[in-house]
Amino acid sequence: MMKFTLAWLKEHLDTDRALGEITDKLTMIGLEVERVEDRGAALKPFVIARVVEARQHPNADRLRVCMVDTGTGEPIQVVCGAPNARAGMKGVFVPPGAYIPGKDMTLQVGTIRGVESRGMLVSEFELKISDDHDGIVELPDDAPVGESFAKYAGLDDPVIEINLTPNRPDCTGVHGIARDLGAADIGKFKDAAIKPLKGAFPCPVAVTIETPELCPAFALRLMRGVKNGPSPAWLQQRLTAIGLRPINALVDITNFITYDRGRPLHVFDAKKVRGGLTVRRAKKDGETLLALDGKTYTLDDSVCVIADGDGVESLSGIMGGEKTGCDESTTDVLIESALWNPVNIAQSGRKLGINSDARYRFERGVDPAFMLPGLELATHMVTDLCGGTPSEVTVAGSAEPPERVIDFPLSEVNRLAGLAVQLPEMRRVLERLGFFVAGQGEKVKIAVPSWRPDVEGKADIVEEVVRIFGVDRVPSTPFDRGAAPRKPVLTPIQTRVRKAKRALATRNLIEAVTWSFIAKPQAELFGGGQPELALANPIASDLSDMRPSLIPGLVGAAQRNADRGFADAGLFEVGQVFRGDRPADQLTAATGVRRALAKPSGIGRHWSKRDGEVDAFDAKADALAVLVAAGAPEQALQIVPGGPPWFHPGRSGTIQIGPKNILGHFGELHPRALEALDAEGPLVAFEVILERIPEPKAKATRAKPVLELAPLQPVERDFAFVVERSVKAADIVRAAQAVDRKLITGITVFDVYEGKGIEPGKKSIAIAVTLQPRDKTMTDAEIEALAAKIVAEVAKRTGGVLRG
């Protein structure tokens, strides 16, 4: 966050534009204004007043009755409990009806212990400018009675907060922001040169850079005979307004220049520094530093430090050390202005957990050309505020910025932005931003200023022009969809996903979206948990492994709903499952669970008796429905008993097209799986993999096959077979079907019976066989002959005998 006040901005920009106009423009040139705090408005009713008389309250020892002159000529009676309220003092008065920010209340005329009070003398706490509520504000004798306190105290200066993008280090200082506003015609940018101060003596402290890759340049100057103390009110007000705590003049000057110019500096108390300064990496074995924030940091050799004869004294570009810090006793000060490697500063700052104003700027990249002017500016301010004599400047390394020149065709702005800008306008914008434009033709050369490390190529120049010129001036241009024919844009898998979702929702299932990562034990239970699918840094231990199946997430969801009192949940999800970490290992599963009474025919109990607990056939029906909706060939799907280990071994099935292409599974969940998922049944589930559905053959036309309607009536014959309990219905159907694939057009199983009348260990299965004669009606004899064949074939394949 970059913060500054309006008055501060005006130090760098000559403008009479209104606050709103300035902040709107900031946002529109890419310096997004996050907040404007206008404290002057909140403190408007607060005025400077003089206590004319302070008497003891007749009914209370701790209270005084004050007569207060607020500049209106008529003294006002105020009951005050502050220990420092006394006749002759000047303070801050607020009348009834005003809002007291520190107390979040509106003041009323009151009667306190029988004496009327028509206003209030307030503390800093009540003004909400500090936590101090020990007594009322005391102002100097020369404070003008009746005048606005906010104005007097410099609190009427609006504070502007900018959400700065990481590419703009130049705007970490008010100066850079003013330059942008100047380019955008909001005012005249004030850019006076900083005059170097001649040193009176050589800098006695030597500087050695051992790590030029981390510190390209380092400048240092000693100032002798300074007098450090509180900084002047204007400086304190500036810092306080942006939320910084004034410390002492030397420190405040460095903080001020950090925000004023985006140039962090550091001051050492020269008397506490032993010998020369060395820029080096911290030692491997954990050197420590007590930093200015009062915390001790343990360092390693990735961190760049400044050390003296006693060891580490400062974390380069991040934070200084407590031991060599400046306080009121400081008389000789070393001012450091250096350049640091942005990547290293960012890494060290993150590693140490320090978010300092210096790090914020160095990790974005400060202007190398301003290293020495920054030091000179600080010298001027120290001379002005603390006196002292400067030494010459010692410079180690080189701050010479690399020259960057971009060949720029003028057509580039129109090509990329669709905005026609002429060279004179372009030149005006760029030169005000500090660029140098050479040439007049179709192609110019543009030199990039040292404070703009973000500008690398033509597109960046286009951005500069468009940003200052105004994106709102780019005309909205209709986009031609082109001559491409209007064909479906979805891929086969995308179409399957769509159809699968809507098909499942028409079966009363509700779509959930659950986490892609689940707990490791759950992943292992469902065939996953491979090391390559485990996150190195999961956000929680139960979100640690990429899911191999959607069932754990959905079962968990169903159970959560049950715990909330909604026991009969039917949920589905169509989403990614992971078999490995390659793109091809990511598959799309369509998965659903039904719990308790969430039947496809209806959810919950019902008077019709067509209700009950979910079973494997509900899951089977869902699985087949979603496969068929997604385009699976219904006739080719085979059902094989059993499934993966998370299903009940006797109440689950596998859907396949041949043993090599397994499309999915359905059934009751295994009691052990439920226990591991901490869920209670009855719970049935299905899961199919949409990628496994074979692609249909491409067809030349959309016409459907010719419909053949047989002119003759179909004939239906019923058979009941008694078979061993282990015989599958599908085998009986298949056997019957095999007798005549043309004539037999349909077989349904209409009854399954075990019990009285049937031998134990056996069951009766009844089927209805539909015969569709083609050319002529069938005679009774022909029908009988076919029936006999069916009976024989079923007997041969399944051992079934016709039930007597």
Partner: protein, 360 residues
């Protein structure tokens, strides 16, 4: 003559007095059966002289017809009475509730619905839908997208990583859908017009962030598409998606590593008792980021930035769903609470189309 009148009165009285079908049949047989009284009269007709036959014939036949009609009427009355009696025993309690239609109970998650809405809008503008894997390489997720080596997004506290491979490389969960831009540019030649919806992941969890969320991006690469086209597409999109006649948008310069120039887009709105209305108002709401594809990204994907150009945009699907349909809390999207899903979800037959309307 008086005989037939007498006879008719007697028979009609017997018909009226018959108590059921059996009794009625008795009357019929007695009158019209083989030996019935009217049958006997009819038999006499042949024996009569012609002139007498002329007068007696119509009399007797008229008697027969009237008796027949009376018999039919009486039989119908019995049938109706029997039906009435049966119907009286057959009532059901029609106030008993029936099962709700399954398609009325089932719901699609708002994310599904919004992706279908986006697809409808952009397919109409000639965009295809591209997708890519959730598990990505550092190269596709960051490097090819021009993220500098030290970018904070590459740190463990922002991005989910897998454990390093023996060669030191490590895969990650994509932090945005932008790697699919890279995959698209690497796999086919421009012109490219795609939208890219999908799941994305960041190591973040609080009131407004979940570790998994959904993004949609758009990518156009060809030899002439510029910021003006981008503005138009986004304006058209916002009008279509939020279903308003006009929408005021504000394009602000911003910064993303993979675009240059980069813009953030705000949409003008009015906040009204927790609801957000688009098309008027004094507030600005940030809804997406966009920009011209960075020349380095084009170069990294094998395209010459002096020949090809294009733009990209990205936004949160969950976020625009919340803005349009008013869900207050992102976290509820992934909680699978059936009450929330039933309320904020969509019926399966409410398929968004441009012809029929996006929202139900």
């Amino acid at each position: 003559m008086t005989d037939t009148v007498q006879l008719e009165q007697t028979i009609l009285a017997e018909i009226a007095g018959a108590s059921d079908d059996t009794a009625l049949e008795g009357v019929r047989v007695a009158a019209l059966g083989k030996n019935g009284s009217i049958t006997a009269l009819l038999k006499t007709l042949g024996t009569l002289p012609p002139d007498e036959r002329k007068t007696q014939g119509p009399l007797i036949n008229g008697l027969k017809d009237r008796v027949n009609a009376a018999l039919v009427a009486r039989r119908d009355a019995f049938k109706n009475a029997a039906l009435e009696a049966r119907l009286n025993t057959e009532s059901v309690d029609v106030t008993l509730p029936v099962r709700e239609a399954p398609a009325e109970i089932g719901r699609l998650h708002p994310i599904t619905q919004v992706v279908d809405e986006l697809t409808a809008i952009f397919a109409d503008m000639g965009f295809a839908v591209a997708e890519g894997p959730d598990i990505e390489t550092d190269d596709y997720n960051f490097t090819k997208l021009n993220f500098p080596e030290n970018h904070p997004a590459r740190e463990m506290h922002d991005t989910f990583f897998f454990n390093p491979k023996p060669d030191g490389s490590r895969l990650l969960l994509r932090t945005h859908t932008s790697p699919v831009q890279v995959r698209t540019m690497l796999s086919r030649k421009p012109p490219i017009r795609v939208i890219i919806p999908g799941r994305t992941y960041r190591s973040d969890s609080d009131q407004t962030h979940t570790p998994m969320f959904h993004q949609v991006e758009g990518l156009v690469v060809d030899k002439g598409s510029h910021l003006g086209h981008l503005k138009w597409i986004l304006e058209e999109f916002c009008k279509a998606f939020f279903e308003v006649d006009r929408v005021k948008m504000r394009f602000r310069p911003s910064f993303f590593p993979f675009t240059e120039p980069s813009l953030e887009v705000d949409i003008q709105c009015r906040r009204d008792k927790g609801e957000i209305r688009f098309g008027d108002g004094d507030d600005w709401l940030e809804i997406l980021g966009c920009g011209m594809v960075h020349p380095n990204v084009l170069r990294n994907c094998g395209l010459d930035p002096d020949e090809y150009q294009g733009f990209a945009w990205g936004m949160g699907i969950d976020r625009i769903a919340m803005l349009k349909y008013g869900m207050p809390d992102l976290r509820a999207f992934f909680d699978a609470d059936v009450r929330w899903l039933s309320h904020y979800g969509f019926r399966p037959l409410d398929f968004p189309t441009l012809a029929g309307g996006l929202s139900p």
